[in-house]
């Protein structure tokens, strides 16, 4: 677990930024399916500061991980060759589109068509960014990470965490009623379930594979055993997020909505952070790499 704690800034980055990105999936579906009046749109745009802030805080955490952040622009030199460069390019493209969308929406001059198009572009780029964040750890000298289970769990975390952030955003914007309409309710439940299944399924597949590996320094079974408690706690938090949010969209009373959606978002952050730490704790090299 010492390995995992050493990677705390990266764990924070890979928790918060994809969560913020995933929120745009629900927002994009909302803008495509629901009729929302101008005042509500203004409130939603204001509260969209929450996912935007999560993305920005995530990137700041990643920045603090670097020993020489002032050289960071150099990462673009490795596009196509280094998985880390690819991840950062995907992240930057997503972040720029997200900021364009949000700033334009905040000016109040965005047409419905542009809103729909840009929200979908942000959502798709957000999911692509989450996928590339997982891909960054697919290194052939680290077999416990070199599996598609990594990107799959990242997309899962982005979906379930993003849904929790979106529900909180809409609740605080006093627009949670929009989530209770037939199409939106089904969409939110599908996204929550898909996120939990992909996130926990991906991590479980990775843990199962790792437990059968070993090198001259550690056995995979010991690594998985060491991470087991935080995996269980993380999984409970993630399922708790799903339960709270399902309750929120299935007709929780107005007074309880803020508390439930806040609780769900906190559970999502804690749960995904624990599961990301578990991921880092299961680093097993083909040789002698010691984190």
């Amino acid at each position: 677990m010492a390995t995992a704690m050493a990677e705390l800034p990266l764990a924070l980055f890979s928790t918060l930024a994809p969560m913020g990105a995933g929120a745009f999936v629900i927002l994009a579906v909302l803008f495509s399916t629901a009729k929302i009046d101008g005042d509500a749109l203004k409130r939603i745009d204001k509260m969209t500061a929450i996912p935007v802030a999560l993305v920005i805080v995530g990137f700041i955490a990643a920045f603090f991980h670097l020993a020489s952040p002032l050289n960071a622009f150099g990462v673009f030199a490795g596009i196509g060759a280094s998985p880390l460069s690819n991840e950062l390019v995907a992240g930057c493209v997503f972040a720029v589109v997200m900021l364009v969308y949000w700033i334009w929406a905040m000016t109040g001059t965005m047409s419905a068509g542009a809103r729909k198009g840009l929200a979908w572009a942000t959502a798709v780029l957000g999911v692509v960014f989450a996928w590339f964040t997982g891909m960054a750890y697919m290194i052939d000298t680290i077999p416990s990470w070199n599996t598609l289970a990594g990107p799959i769990q990242m997309v899962g975390f982005a979906l379930v965490g993003g849904a929790a952030v979106a529900i909180l955003t809409l609740t605080l914007a006093k627009s949670a009623d929009a989530l209770k309409a037939g199409t939106m309710k089904t969409t939110v439940l599908v996204v929550l379930v898909a996120g939990i299944v992909l996130g926990l399924g991906g991590l479980a597949a990775q843990a199962a594979a790792t437990s059968g590996m070993g090198n001259a320094l550690v056995s995979g079974a010991d690594l998985v055993g060491g991470a087991l408690m935080i995996i269980i706690c993380g999984a409970i938090c993630l399922v708790g997020t799903g339960v709270c949010d399902a309750f929120a969209v299935r007709g929780a009373q107005e007074g309880a909505l803020v508390g439930i959606s806040c609780g769900a978002a906190v559970l999502a952050i804690v749960g995904i952070l624990l599961l990301r730490l578990a991921f880092y704790a299961m680093q097993l090299s083909v040789g002698l790499s010691i984190m």
Partner: protein, 206 residues
């Protein structure tokens, strides 16, 4: 390009770690940073038969490892800025401190535990094959210091005449990075990837 390489004779190494300290001295390395490490590899078991006679398969041997300046270096392959690169003339893998962001990706990827991020210096650090000494026609400090003459350094072609490309435990299979480390293995050395051969001094080599 004339690729440079290390040679390690596992039949001569006594595990004294003079190579480790000669390297630390030459490169002025602080506590917690070592470019060369000596891995103590052990395994096997002792058992008694029905007559009470003890038999043992226990073994212990040393492997001295620094950067192997691989033909296909995992560190350079993942480096996002190109700071980690192979020198065009010598094939030595070195860090361009002005480009390095200190992300630690090279440290994660290298299966020889060679690069490490020095946060005080603000970039990755590792063995550069004592490029300054080599340019003067000398050998790296670890090689010159070894009292058992278990280490050597020279062109990959010359080193390949002394031993086989490193493919024994605790090292990874040579196919991953094609290391420029040639070894005459200890009699007890296990094949690369044999997880039954354990490193007995993990804290020392971290």
């Amino acid at each position: 390009m004339t690729q440079q390489a290390f040679y390690f004779d596992g039949t001569r190494c006594t595990g004294c770690k003079t190579c480790v300290f000669a390297c630390k001295d030459k490169n002025d390395l602080d506590v917690g940073v070592a470019y060369r490490k000596v891995y103590e590899v052990t395994g096997g078991e002792t058992s008694k038969d029905d007559n009470g006679c003890a038999t043992t398969s226990c073994y212990s041997y040393y492997t001295s490892v620094a950067c192997n300046h691989c033909d296909d270096p995992a560190c350079a392959k993942v480096c996002p800025t190109g700071a980690m690169h192979k020198d065009g003339d010598t094939g030595l893998v070195t860090v361009d401190a002005d480009k390095c962001i200190g992300c630690g990706y090279c440290h994660m990827a290298c299966p020889y535990n060679a690069p490490k991020v020095d946060r005080e210096k603000g970039h990755s650090v590792k063995c550069d094959g004592c490029a300054d000494l080599v340019a003067k026609g000398e050998k790296p400090s670890c090689v010159m210091a070894c009292p058992a003459r278990a280490l050597d350094f020279g062109t990959a072609d010359d080193m390949a005449k002394l031993g086989e490309q490193a493919d024994s435990a605790p090292l990874p299979e040579k196919s991953y990075t094609k290391p420029n480390l040639y070894i005459k293995p200890s009699r007890d050395a296990k094949p690369a990837g044999d997880a039954s051969a354990k490193v007995a001094n993990p804290l020392e080599v971290k």
